[in-house]
């Protein structure tokens, strides 16, 4: 009687905690067309690299995640350390779609002044995955 419940809980926990990989997320973002009906642009690490390091208003993504996303970051206002963003340096990154979405929304608002497009997110992910 107990086994099925344990099994059910394990399955629920796995889906709640997010069993995605960085590549799953890249595929999700990378398959969303900019214009309805058009084909989605192919994500490129080079575009993600430029986007990540460009200063948009006051900040760039590097302001908190540093110029090297494999390194530990530091919050530009509070100074609190931030674990590395590149999956090669931090395997827990991009394993939970909801978490990635939450931070893309917040950080793009702060840095760019608007939410990022799916294509911009795909480029950033392609760049982060390309780092070893």
């Amino acid at each position: 009687m107990q086994r099925p419940i344990v099994l059910l809980l394990t399955v629920l926990a796995a889906s709640a905690a997010g069993a995605e990989t960085a590549t799953d997320l890249l595929n999700t973002y990378g398959s969303q067309p900019v214009v309805k009906g058009a084909t989605a642009p192919v994500p490129t690490a080079a575009a993600g690299d430029r986007f990540f390091h460009a200063r948009h208003k006051d900040w760039s993504c590097a302001s908190c995640h540093t110029g090297d996303p494999r390194a530990e970051g530091r919050h530009a206002v509070t100074g609190k350390p931030i674990a590395p963003l590149a999956p090669a340096a931090n395997p827990r990154r991009f394993t939970d779609f909801a978490k990635a979405e939450k931070w893309f929304k917040r950080n793009c608002n702060d840095v760019v002044g608007r939410e990022c497009t799916a294509s911009e997110k795909a480029d950033v992910l392609a760049y982060l995955i390309s780092l070893h």
Binding site: H75, V77, T78, G79, K80, A98, K102, K105, R106, N107, N109, D110
Partner: protein, 159 residues
């Protein structure tokens, strides 16, 4: 008072009163804010800075802060409805001592009267040290801040 009457009193007055106190404590603990609310608060309110302790502000201050998370002291800290409810339950259920924040649309701990009084002996120049980076960086001087410890014995001020 004979023994039996005392016992009777205990049964009719003291015991129900004790039960009521226990029940209230239970409600506070279990119905007000659950351990998972606390986990949500620690994770969500501790990602950009240390999770400031609930008793650093009064409940109404927290209400004002939680109502404006998308415009949070210069950054977007918005939460989905479920996490927001959990954080609110945790922050509102904290028992006193209540410390009122600064009187502002977004109340602050660091400019409140209690904070300035507790830190009256910290010289102005200390707050600007690179290792401190501002008064809101509690953990710079209170190494136990992540686990809610701020007592005087555990303070270490970075050079």
């Amino acid at each position: 008072m004979p023994d039996s009457r005392l016992r009777h009193r205990f049964r009719t007055v003291a015991r129900p009163a004790a039960m009521l106190v226990l029940l209230m404590a239970f409600q506070e603990e279990v119905l007000g804010a659950s351990p998972s609310d606390k986990e949500t608060w620690r994770a969500e309110c501790g990602s950009c800075h240390v999770a400031f302790p609930a008793n650093a502000l009064k409940p109404n201050d927290w209400t004002l802060i939680l109502a404006a998370l998308d415009r949070h002291y210069g950054v977007d800290a918005s939460l989905d409805a479920r996490d927001l409810a959990a954080v609110a339950a945790y922050l509102q259920a904290q028992p006193g001592p209540e410390r009122p924040g600064s009187a502002a649309t977004l109340p602050r701990i660091t400019t409140s009267r209690w904070f300035r009084e507790e830190h009256g002996e910290v010289p102005q120049s200390t707050w600007q040290r690179p290792g401190v980076k501002g008064a809101a960086n509690c953990a710079a001087c209170h190494p136990g801040a992540e686990s809610g410890r701020f007592d005087e014995d555990s303070i270490r001020i970075p050079k």
